[in-house]
């Protein structure tokens, strides 16, 4: 392999790589604004200037190809002086409004100005003013003043989102970014530009001014918007999710996620219609009761029916752990009628990330065995059997079954017993006899299997009543670490909910069953033991980036 020397360190590279790419593989940091590993080279910010021996002038590391025997200096006097000068140039027209800028705290310009800047300005003239608070697209606010014209957003739209919508207009110091005439910046991936924008020029309208970034804790998670399962980070302050950002995973989502996933998949966690504690229907009204009472009632209710009169519905929204425990409970009761439904939006799919299947775990539910046992009924069969009064009790886990169709809604109304695990009130809870409040994806440990068969982990970012951030090892912000119950910024509501596998396990105890899980990890190790596709996997193997389940391609959903 050819090699070059960067800062006296021997760095091997592949033919065709640029200096900055070689440096990144060797963990050498060369400052850069316009260069992004996933985008084409543009070379207009000039901050990655480095000194290469035997070259007459400094060269930009992002577009200079690495060559055999090259000797690069990233910290020589000449380089530092040039870097300083470039920083001064970029900062000439950049407003000093970090206090009101959402990017502050995760801003490249702020970091580099601190690390490589002079610390003071020689520029006494009036800065060039541009348009502020421009609504660039449905979800994005653009601040012309702050833009340093790196063109990352333009290249992202062209190359990754394949939507040619943004462009530079004007020249010199009045250059600014706008959409093409008649166009709106409205492709499905626009908000990724707010992540790659090195300054606060493009900001997320939904998150605007909600919190400073250093006040939140970040927790690795998975997007539940579709079967892609983009790796995300959940940002939480005061037990409330404020935003989602994508997390890098080359095998799944690269560095990106779609706007729908980013904006619409977390708001239900803190919504007003959350089910807060278990409920039992008495005289037509849902009444809040203790967990123990609800579980005793549910167990007693199930015991009244023959196993052929009961059906279970799993969920492609729930984790593998939840579905596996459900299957186990059904088997222990001798119930063969068990199935789940997928939520497919035909045609809503592209070659980038978005998948037709709008649930995160259809494949996982299938793999852990949510399917009718021999002689059992599938979803349609269950519906027919309810209509014919053959099935009288339905146990639904995290699925709004009544919203599937009017037929289902009528059928649910006909049942003698409807037990529902629900995170939020929905059409099914309206008809349910017993509602058990389930934790959302942001409140539990678990695994999802995406459409590629990749097993990925979710972790709790928001605490429920039974959880404690410190004792349960959840990620904590500075506020979480030092807050007391008397501080108003610590009084974010904790819902009274439990993960479905735990509810099922508690219910099994009431039914005299043998399912006794204490931790999601224990459920998963049981899955790994009993289901071939999950052999050899555990939470440590899955880790941050997931692991491939051993599936045959024909099984793919």
């Amino acid at each position: 392999m050819p090699y070059l020397t960067i800062d006296e360190k021997r760095v091997e590279f592949n033919q065709g790589q640029t200096i900055i790419e070689a440096a990144v593989t060797a963990n050498i940091d060369i400052p850069h604004f316009c260069w992004h590993p996933k985008l084409s080279v543009s070379g207009n910010c000039r901050v990655c200037l480095v000194e290469v021996e035997k070259m007459p002038k400094l060269v930009i590391a992002c577009s200079t190809l690495a060559a055999e025997g090259m000797v690069v200096h990233t910290h020589s006097d000449k380089t530092l002086e040039a870097r300083n000068a470039v920083m001064e140039f970029i900062l000439i027209n950049h407003p000093l409004d970090c206090p009101i800028c959402d990017e502050a705290g995760e801003c490249k310009l702020q970091e580099y100005a601190y690390a490589h800047g002079k610390g003071e300005s020689r520029f006494e003239e009036i800065k060039v003013r541009k348009e502020k608070r421009v609504q660039l697209g449905p979800f994005i606010k653009f601040d012309g003043d702050r833009c340093i014209s790196c063109s990352r957003c333009i290249r992202f739209s062209d190359e990754i989102a394949k939507a040619n919508q943004l462009t530079f207009v004007k020249r010199g110091d009045s250059v600014t970014i706008t959409t093409f005439p008649g166009e709106s910046f409205d492709n499905p991936y626009t908000l990724n530009t707010t992540d790659i924008c090195p300054v606060g020029a493009l900001t997320n309208q939904d998150f605007r001014f909600k919190s400073r970034v250093w006040e939140m804790s970040g927790t690795d998670s998975i997007c539940i918007g579709c079967a892609r399962g983009c790796n995300t980070e959940i940002w939480v302050r005061n037990n409330e999710i404020l935003r989602l950002t994508p997390r890098s995973n080359e095998d799944v989502n690269s560095d990106w996620m779609c706007d729908k996933g980013r904006l619409n998949t977390f708001k239900f966690v803190n919504a007003n219609d959350r089910v807060d504690g278990t409920m039992i229907r008495e005289n037509g009204e849902l009444k809040k009761v203790e967990w123990s009472e609800a579980l005793v009632k549910a167990a007693a209710g199930l015991k009244e029916f023959k196993s052929t009169e009961i059906a279970f519905i799993g969920s492609s929204y729930a984790t593998c752990e939840d579905n596996f425990t459900l299957v186990k409970l059904a088997r222990s009761l001798g119930v063969n009628n068990i199935d789940f439904t997928q939520h497919i939006l035909p045609g809503d799919q592209d070659d980038i990330l978005i998948r037709e299947d709008k649930t995160p775990n259809s494949l996982g539910a299938k793999l852990v065995g949510v399917k009718p046992a021999p002689n059992g009924l599938n979803l349609e069969g269950i519906l027919r059997a309810i209509k014919e009064d053959k099935i009288k009790a339905l146990y639904v886990m995290e699925e709004d079954i009544a919203a599937l169709s009017n037929e289902w809604e009528e059928a649910c109304g006909k049942l003698s017993l409807l037990i529902v695990h629900a995170t939020n009130h929905n059409r099914t809870t309206l008809l349910a006899n017993i509602v058990l409040s389930a934790s959302t994806f942001a409140e539990k440990h678990g695994t999802f299997v995406n459409f590629q068969g990749r097993v990925q982990r979710i972790k709790p970012a928001v605490g429920t009543e039974e959880m404690d951030r410190a004792l349960d090892g959840m990620n904590m912000s500075r506020w979480d670490k030092f807050g007391t119950k008397f501080d108003r910024w610590m009084q974010g509501h904790k819902y009274d909910a439990k993960p479905s596998w735990k509810i099922l396990s508690l219910l099994s105890l009431q039914l005299g069953g043998k399912i006794k899980y204490e931790m999601a990890e224990a459920v998963f190790s049981d899955i790994a033991k009993t289901i071939n596709e999950f052999n050899d996997l555990d939470y440590d193997v899955i880790a941050e980036l997931g692991a491939q389940a051993k599936i045959k391609q024909t099984l793919a959903v």
């Binding site: 970090c98 206090p99 009101i100 502050a104 502020k132 608070r133 605007r208 001014f209 909600k210 400073r212 250093w214 006040e215 500075r478 506020w479 030092f482 807050g483 008397f486 501080d487 108003r488 910024w489």
Partner: protein, 164 residues
């Protein structure tokens, strides 16, 4: 009995005490005639100098708007985590304002870091030292108690411009 040894033997005049008592009385009477330093608080209130660090307050401009842009730096720098800020958007040029600004006076240690870090000169230490509350909730001061018209804070603002 052990005889106590003095460093210096007392002279005759010292031994008769009369002179010494008289000397002491002179000092006493001298001080009786001096101006009093005791302040009859609360009938008389102490007016602190501009350098005094009383409770932190928010500067309210003459048009009634607070200077604060809710950047949250005071909240970040506060070693006692006394300050909570929630920003929101405003149509004004400053773009953001504090929808909620609360200082927990039970946590505040009057260090003045918030004032020092503020990029807008929007939070300053006042001369107010009379802080009384009877429960934890009352000790959390919201914008209603924190906003003080800028004219009342001129002393401190001038002090800051001179010495900060």
């Amino acid at each position: 009995m052990v005889e106590k040894k003095r460093k210096k033997n007392l002279s005759f005049l010292e031994r008769i005490y009369v002179v010494e008592i008289f000397k002491g009385m002179i000092l006493t009477f001298k001080n009786m005639l001096r101006p009093k330093v005791t302040m009859q608080y609360p009938e008389v209130k102490f007016e602190p100098p501009a350098s005094y660090r009383g409770r932190p307050v928010l500067v309210q401009e003459r048009n009634g708007v607070e200077r604060c842009v809710a950047c949250g730096l005071c909240s970040r720098v506060c070693p006692a985590l006394a300050i909570e800020v929630q920003a929101a958007e405003t149509e004004l040029e400053k773009e953001r304002y504090p929808q909620k600004f609360e200082i927990n006076m039970l946590r505040c240690i009057f260090c003045g870091f918030c004032e020092e870090v503020c990029p807008e000169e929007a939070i300053v230490m006042s001369k107010d030292y009379e802080l009384v509350f009877t429960n934890r909730e009352d000790a959390i001061y919201g914008k209603d108690k924190l906003l003080i018209p800028v004219d009342k804070l001129q002393d401190r603002l001038e002090f800051l411009r001179k010495f900060k």
